[in-house]
């Protein structure tokens, strides 16, 4: 019996853990749990555990450590201890894998405190902000270069009556400052919730977004803080640093004339005009929505 525990229970545990890690990796469920940097580690760990389990299974080894008096594995001694150890190793992980959803519910999000001020994010999400800022800078410099080129005046051809028309400038070719942003077929700027938060903080980004038609998705949550007239709700996304356990909710405020009967935490697509009114002494990202529709969750539910 002891030998069976020594050999088969570690083997079963390793196989189960390996299966769960590999299943989550290959099914894509790992996207909701880990930052992309950490996902390959889970794959490698799953593969190594599979090898270790195979070693236990096929190579004769008795692993009698835990039958000795001086065993260092505290819960390994005795059949009861071993059984308890392996139940604790197996059951919680299997249960969590079976029942774990792809995201947090509203109460956990509220418990963590919804962030709508980018300065409260510290360095988290800075990569996205830096990318946005550098794209904006690159677009601004290319726009400036284009403007300089196009400002070279071409000599005008004389008209039939002999008068000289005003010089022609290639205004139509000058790019818009927001051309660096990805746009939908309808011409809406496609962005993420966190982009609005950074834009609220940054004067030049704010200029790029202000009163422009934007489109973004997130999870619907009623707004209980900045909602005096009852027309506002929040669109929330989770910002992850390493894993879901450290993810923090970030939200943009959406204002709509239409009464909303969308279930809490549903995924919604919002189309509307970005505004940044000063509320509470700072610019707050508020999108005046023209449409709010329930949509499917994105492939990557987390922001990084």
């Amino acid at each position: 019996m002891t030998k069976a525990f020594s050999r088969w229970l570690p083997c079963a545990t390793l196989f189960a853990w390996s299966f769960i890690l590999l299943y989550f990796y290959f099914s894509g469920r790992i996207h909701a749990l880990l930052h992309p940097i950490f996902r390959p580690f889970a794959l490698v760990a799953g593969a190594i555990m599979l090898l270790l389990a195979a070693c236990f299974l096929f190579i004769p080894a008795t692993a009698e450590c835990c039958t000795d008096e001086g065993c260092g594995h505290a819960l390994g001694r005795g059949i009861g201890g071993r059984l308890l150890t392996f139940l604790i190793l197996l059951l919680p992980m299997c249960a969590a894998a079976a029942f774990s959803p792809g995201g947090y519910g509203a109460s956990t999000i509220l418990n963590r405190g919804v962030i709508n001020d980018a300065s409260a994010l510290g360095g988290a999400g800075a990569k996205r902000a830096a990318a946005l800022a550098s794209s904006a800078a690159a677009a601004a410099s290319s726009a400036a270069a284009a403007a300089n080129t196009s400002s070279v005046t071409e000599p005008a051809l004389p008209t039939q009556d002999g008068s000289t028309p005003p010089p022609q400038q290639a205004q139509a070719q000058q790019p818009e400052p927001t051309d660096y942003l990805h746009k939908s077929k309808d011409g809406n700027i496609i962005l993420q919730v966190i982009d609005l938060l950074y834009a609220a903080q940054d004067t030049s980004l704010r200029g790029d977004f202000e009163n422009k038609r934007v489109e973004f998705i997130g999870q619907y949550m009623p707004d209980t803080v900045n909602n005096i007239n009852g027309k506002r709700f929040k669109v929330v996304r989770m910002l992850m640093v390493c894993c879901a356990a450290d993810a923090r909710p970030v939200a943009a405020v959406v204002e709509t004339e239409q009464p909303s009967n969308i279930p809490e935490m549903s995924w919604v697509k919002v189309v509307g005009d970005a505004t940044f009114p000063i509320e509470g002494g700072r610019n707050l990202a508020v999108v005046k929505a023209t449409s709010v529709t329930v949509t499917d969750p994105p492939e990557e539910t987390m922001l990084y």
């Binding site: 570690p10 545990t13 390793l14 853990w17 890690l21 989550f24 749990l33 880990l34 950490f38 580690f41 760990a45 190594i48 555990m49 270790l52 070693c55 236990f56 190579i59 004769p60 080894a61 008795t62 692993a63 009698e64 450590c65 835990c66 000795d68 008096e69 001086g70 260092g72 594995h73 505290a74 819960l75 390994g76 150890t85 604790i88 919680p92 992980m93 969590a96 029942f99 774990s100 959803p101 995201g103 947090y104 519910g105 109460s107 509220l110 418990n111 405190g113 300065s119 409260a120 994010l121 510290g122 360095g123 209980t224 640093v241 390493c242 894993c243 879901a244 356990a245 450290d246 923090r248």
Partner: protein
């Protein structure tokens, strides 16, 4: 604060629990594989020979080993246990165990990145310096204490020179040969050593994973069910803010490679409170409380926790005079 301070939902709990395990398991496995390799391939006397004979220099050097041998806190516990069993002086092993999760390049970089715009050089330097200083101090204290009073008896028994037990056996080594794994490995071939390393790593992994599961479960309850805004009113008082941040870090049991990003998000809290969060948490949190149990006696773990808590709080509060 909105709503109740405690609301438990099993699905949220399981989601957080699973993500902690998924993040921690690879590093725990890495630590176990290193531990298994050390067990099978490194002779017991190597560490004693490599360290300086001067005890002060040996402890100080151990405090910097994380810079060349980086390990997060989960992995460092397994490796430390193996170091001790291989004859590394306990003071040096403990110093390495406490410093490696802080004094390493990955943590330095992540701390710097997280605190961009919030004095990143100062935060990174202070975190590394305080982590090193405290780890070395604990090392000196441990050096004065008798081994048997600190370590689990099974660990004491497995240290070269005082070893009485047998390690696990494999069929490749007949039972009659007896003795410990090192003695048997001396005569074993590469195949035997590799098998021994694999089995040693597996035993270590499952042993420590038990405590990771328990720690992750407790952390996930706090992480999802407790309203974290309860500590917000404490932000204006440096003492209360520092203590609150350290308690929070203890309960959250974050990985030291990423905890700086969470600390940086507490913008209303004083700089020193965030520093205390980063220094204390990498050395002692609820997950480590259980993990340390595979090496140390319970009283020592409690004393270590209380001592570190007080020391970190006092040091960080003293730094408030710098107006950071």
């Amino acid at each position: 604060m909105n709503g109740a301070w405690f609301t438990f939902h099993f699905q949220d709990f399981s989601y957080s629990f699973l993500s902690i395990l998924f993040e921690g398991i690879p590093f725990l496995l890495l630590g176990s594989l290193v531990s298994g390799a050390i067990d099978a391939f490194v002779p017991a006397e190597v560490f004693s020979r490599l360290l300086p004979k001067n005890k002060i220099a040996a402890i100080a050097l151990s405090g910097m080993l994380g810079a060349i041998f980086p390990m997060c806190e989960c992995g460092s516990v397994v490796v430390t246990r193996r170091f001790i069993r291989k004859g590394l002086p306990i003071a040096s092993a403990v110093t390495y165990m406490l410093s490696a999760p802080i004094v390493n390049p990955v943590v330095a970089l992540s701390t710097f990145a997280a605190f961009r715009g919030q004095s990143p050089w100062v935060m990174m330097s202070l975190r590394l310096m305080l982590g090193f200083l405290l780890a070395v101090t604990v090392g000196f204290i441990v050096q004065q204490a008798p081994m048997g009073a600190i370590l689990q008896q099974s660990i004491v028994d497995s240290i070269p020179g005082v070893r009485r037990r047998t390690a696990f056996r494999m069929s490749a080594a007949p039972r009659e040969e007896g003795g410990d794994l090192n003695i048997r490995l001396e005569g074993g071939g590469w195949r035997f050593k590799i098998l021994a390393a694999v089995q040693s790593a597996t035993s270590d992994f499952l042993d420590v994973a038990f405590f990771l599961v328990v720690g992750a479960a407790i952390t996930s309850v706090f992480n999802t069910a407790v309203n974290q805004q309860v500590i917000q009113p404490l932000a204006t008082n440096p003492l209360l803010a520092t203590v609150a941040m350290m308690v929070l870090r203890f309960m959250l049991a974050l990985c030291s490679t990423s905890d700086a990003f969470i600390a940086a998000s507490f913008v209303s809290f004083p700089f020193v409170a965030k520093l205390a969060f980063l220094v204390f948490g990498a050395m002692f949190d609820i997950k480590l409380f259980f993990l340390y149990g595979i090496i140390f006696k319970r009283w020592f773990i409690l004393a270590l926790g209380i001592g570190l808590f007080v020391a970190v709080a006092v040091l960080c509060l003293r730094l408030t005079v710098l107006n950071l």
